[in-house]
Assembly symmetry: C2
């Protein structure tokens, strides 16, 4: 009862099924809803590049410029590629569905596994980076960052259990504030850089590089920066949410998203280089940049605040995506079907709870540290990019609509480039944590296959096709009696309603007690015959099993019903004061065919 | 199945009830069986006295002699007193039973609580001291002492679960070896002391005393030494185990026990003083004494080994005493009745498991350190001594057999002296740990009373006295259907055997599914009518509860049976892949009157 009330407090009252509907989004709102995930990664992508480069000393930081340009080009390619997907899948083309359509089940499962992993990582990374934005501005909160991360996940998860996921208004303000604030920062910073009135960032001593600069390190820096691309696929997943013409509007929004993303990412990367900003443990690069440009006043704090907000929105995106993908996987019977049922508030509660739980586990293991999580991140996204673009290539070759050959070329370039980047990320970050994801993806696929096989087997065994109805069933009703009291009388009466030939069964451990029972049976036995079984080893189950074996030799579709009188104390703790015989009997017969155990509870008052 | 085999491996095959019998013991065997607990305490009693005295510096150690003499006198008094109890209770006079007979329920419960606590402490202290005897001889084992303690408890507990408790032969050899070896040690040591060929023990630096010698410290030393008396009551508890004339033989054995105990205790205390032995952390006093007298050869190791053996036997004694007392308390309904049932091997398994578990917890908390446990020890024993002797005083006043007045005087002195010692122990050791026991005894008594009241209330509510049999019961059988498959067909057939008017119930969440179900119902519905309930909030339980409410307005003794089709996967882990609807429904109706939920399992093959 109290658990029920607690749930109401946090989750709200149930919503009727009829209230299920999808809000249609205008282009500006859709940009806010679908861009938060992609744009928020600019809060940490530059920093992750610098953190790798600095291993070769501060001089190596200048390599961030060419790497930034390469990543910007990659964004342009992926965006162009996904604009083709939107055309082909106006009903929404997530990597799982697109791969299933064009490449078959196994590639789809790989995409599904990769995406599930990356949704969890998106929550963990975004929340960790969001809290880092806060602790950069308020340093004394740094020691509480793990607690803050866990609290943030809890808040987002509860909000989603209440069902906020598709309200565009919620997203619009923080996303546009973030975009405007960062454009302001970049514009004012660039002017300052050009006319040189802002100077260099304060000098920071840094130990000399431990590694020489080389191709592997550069590739690793590039791989770390590829976190900037996560979330770019969101628009093409959500085409049906747009106002008509859906596909057209989605393509426009995706193009805008790409442009903003490239501008922000390159702007931050350039200014960080120009002001000579070096990554620090307790302050993010964006925070250092904003502090240098705006000097720690209101604008600085505003930027930190909206950065946190957009990162929490990014985490929130996964809380819509993960349960939706889980729904598809459960509908296709690759994961437990509990993920396909909607809760009281019309959301997929199980997916939300599992996602929140896994993200908290990750945040605890990696102590809420963005940099520790990054090596695991982006592998999954690029697996899904590659499979998604590859699927499109297959599709254009098959469908051949208007302009198919140049769309094929675009998707082909996309598939090739994202495939190469995927391998680069997996190899360069392998020993830093990517190995976990590389092992986890096939493991998840194997689990999907086992689960699928089980469901198939169950539905085959339960199927009514080619099933000849069994002969009519016969049933022997036995009341298991250990004593004579009101609860037993109740159970005897119940057994009489089930069968006129019901019998009572008593297992004798002490002949004296049998004699006393038999004496009172005439008055209270409700006319049922009493069968006494002897038990030389004081075991209740031995003689009972033997007796039932004998009964079941009779017929083919013959069932034995064991009626168990059980009294239920008024308070739960009193339960332990009574013999757990009923539990033992139920456990014993659970896996035995054609024996049905029925508890007949007799409720005590206090 | 595998758990079952594991149990057989450790515990052995079941024994038939007819094999239950009590071995009758000759006097020498009885001495061995009943003396081990009392005699084993000489392994640590002297050391505990010295450990308190040394707080006032090494010079204060000489006070061990008068304290030893006082304890020896106390032993003589208690032994004489218990010799009277044996006369009055030839059927065995444990403190619980004797107090219940003469002082009433509450004093008996206090005695029961005190004894249960002390049995646990006997196991913990004896095992800790036994392992200390081993680690004194083999010092590198010292760091593993906690593990060794736990292993020793496990071995003794498993042996008792197999049912070794009353085999006299097991006890004879170690007990007599211990007595003979220690007599040898004391005799040879005394000769050496008199003719001065053994010299002083090696000088040990010791920091000067931190406390002045005073009455409180002397009393605390005395209280610690009183651990020597634990186990003296064993003979009077076990009179029926003696060969006839039982009472006479028991009195003779008790006198012998007293004489040996006093000799060993005084001998060790005197020699430790004479050789100037100072307690050390890593070696017991008895070990130092034996090493000094025998010089570390075979005889030294033999003494350490038999000391360990007799201490394990002492622990073993509690494994017979605790379950027996628990049986009496459970029979009188003061503790859960699970303690009154014998297991497969005719032993009270629950008592043995609980005792072993509690002793392990104590050993872990106190890190297997005898000295840390001693302040908790002996309080309970002296509570039971006092109540037991007090009971005898009441009895002699009532019964007045031959020589009653001088037996009354003996028991009166016993009650008075043990009462004074009880208070002394509780006060002087209060802040060192005795407070735990002082609080625990009334807590346990309160639990006993609550449990007793509950059992009384239950049997009153279940009683058939003044019970007018209820009117004949009527029963509505409903099959809860969510789909149509072989398991559902099986359940429908089963419902038909229960009632010709059984109905099927379907809660609609999606009208399309209802339509499909209704289409197939004609062929597979077994002729049962299908009732469809709508559920606007997708809740299964809401409409179901409403429908049952309506049904139950009908009659007085009307029961609703909900038949739940459930398929059971072949492997346990597959269970989590299926909706836990059945569990939810059973949980909901568990506390609801007149609703009976019956699972009809359909077993899948693999």
């Amino acid at each position: 009862m109290r658990l029920h009330q607690l749930k109401r407090l946090f989750v709200g009252t149930p919503l009727p099924t009829a209230q299920s509907r999808h809000e249609r989004l205008s282009k500006p709102t859709a940009l806010a809803v679908f861009a938060s995930d992609a744009l928020s990664s600019t809060a940490y992508a530059t920093e992750e590049i610098l953190l790798v480069l600095i291993l070769a000393g501060t001089a190596a930081l200048s390599y961030s410029l060419p790497i930034g340009v390469a990543i910007a080009a990659l964004i342009a390619i992926v965006v162009s590629s996904y604009r083709q997907t939107i055309l082909a899948y106006p009903q929404g083309g997530g990597a799982y569905i697109v791969s299933k359509d064009n490449l078959g089940t196994y590639p789809a499962l790989v995409a599904g596994a990769a995406l599930l992993i990356d949704y969890v990582l998106t929550v963990a990374v975004s929340v960790a980076a969001g809290i880092a934005a806060v602790t950069s501005a308020v340093p004394w909160l740094f020691r509480y960052r793990v607690v803050l991360c866990v609290a943030a996940v809890a808040v987002v998860a509860i909000a989603n259990l209440r069902g906020i996921r598709e309200s565009g208004k919620l997203f619009a303000a923080p996303t546009y504030l973030f975009v405007v604030s960062l454009f302001g920062l970049i514009a004012y910073g660039s002017v300052g850089a050009i006319f040189d009135f802002l100077g260099e960032a304060p000098y920071q001593a840094h130990p000399p590089g431990l590694e020489g600069i080389g191709l592997f390190l550069l590739l690793r820096a590039f791989a770390s920066g590829c976190a900037a691309l996560t979330g770019v696929e969101a628009v093409s997943d959500g085409v049906p949410a747009f106002k008509p013409p859906e596909a057209h509007n989605a393509r426009v929004v995706l193009a805008w998203l790409g442009a903003i993303l490239i501008t922000l990412f390159l702007g931050i990367t350039y200014l960080a280089y120009d002001f000579g900003i070096v990554p620090k443990e307790h302050e993010t690069v964006v925070s250092q940049l904003a502090r240098h440009v705006f000097g720690g006043g209101f604008l600085y704090y505003e930027i930190q605040f909206v950065t946190m907000l957009i990162l929490l929105l990014a985490a929130n995106t996964s809380f819509a995506d993960f349960p939706r993908l889980a729904f598809f996987l459960a509908r296709d019977r690759f994961i437990p079907r509990q993920f396909s049922t909607q809760g009281d508030r019309l959301v997929f509660s199980n997916g939300i709870v599992i996602l929140g739980g896994l993200a908290v586990v990750l945040l605890l293991i990696f102590k809420g540290d963005t940099h520790a999580l990054i090596p695991l991140y982006a592998v999954g996204v690029f697996v899904s990019f590659t499979l998604s673009q590859g699927s499109m290539v297959r599709r254009w070759m098959r469908v051949r609509g208007p302009g198919w050959w140049w769309r094929l070329a675009l998707n082909g370039v996309g598939a090739l480039v994202t495939g190469v980047v995927m391998v680069t990320i997996a190899v360069t970050k392998f020993s830093h944590g990517a190995w976990i994801v590389v092992l986890l993806i096939p493991t998840l696929v194997a689990i999907f296959v086992v689960v699928h096989r089980h469901y198939g087997e169950v539905s085959r065994q339960l199927s009514l096709d080619d099933y000849s109805p069994p002969p009519p069933m016969t049933n022997t009703v036995l009341v298991l009696v250990g004593d004579l009291h009101r609860g037993v009388v109740h159970a005897l009466q119940y057994a009489q309603t089930l069968s006129p030939s019901a019998k009572a069964l008593y297992v004798e451990t002490d002949p004296e007690r049998t004699r006393r029972l038999e004496e009172r049976w005439g008055k209270w036995g409700q006319g049922l015959p009493l069968i006494v079984l002897t038990s030389p080893y004081r075991s209740l189950l031995g003689p009972l099993l033997e007796y039932i074996d004998q009964l079941q030799r009779h017929g083919d579709n013959h069932v034995v019903t064991i009626v168990l009188p059980e009294f239920i104390p008024a308070r739960w703790w009193q339960q332990i004061l009574h013999n757990q015989t009923a539990l033992l009997i139920k456990g014993t017969f659970l896996f035995r065919k054609n024996v049905i155990v029925t508890d007949v509870p007799y409720h005590l008052r206090h």
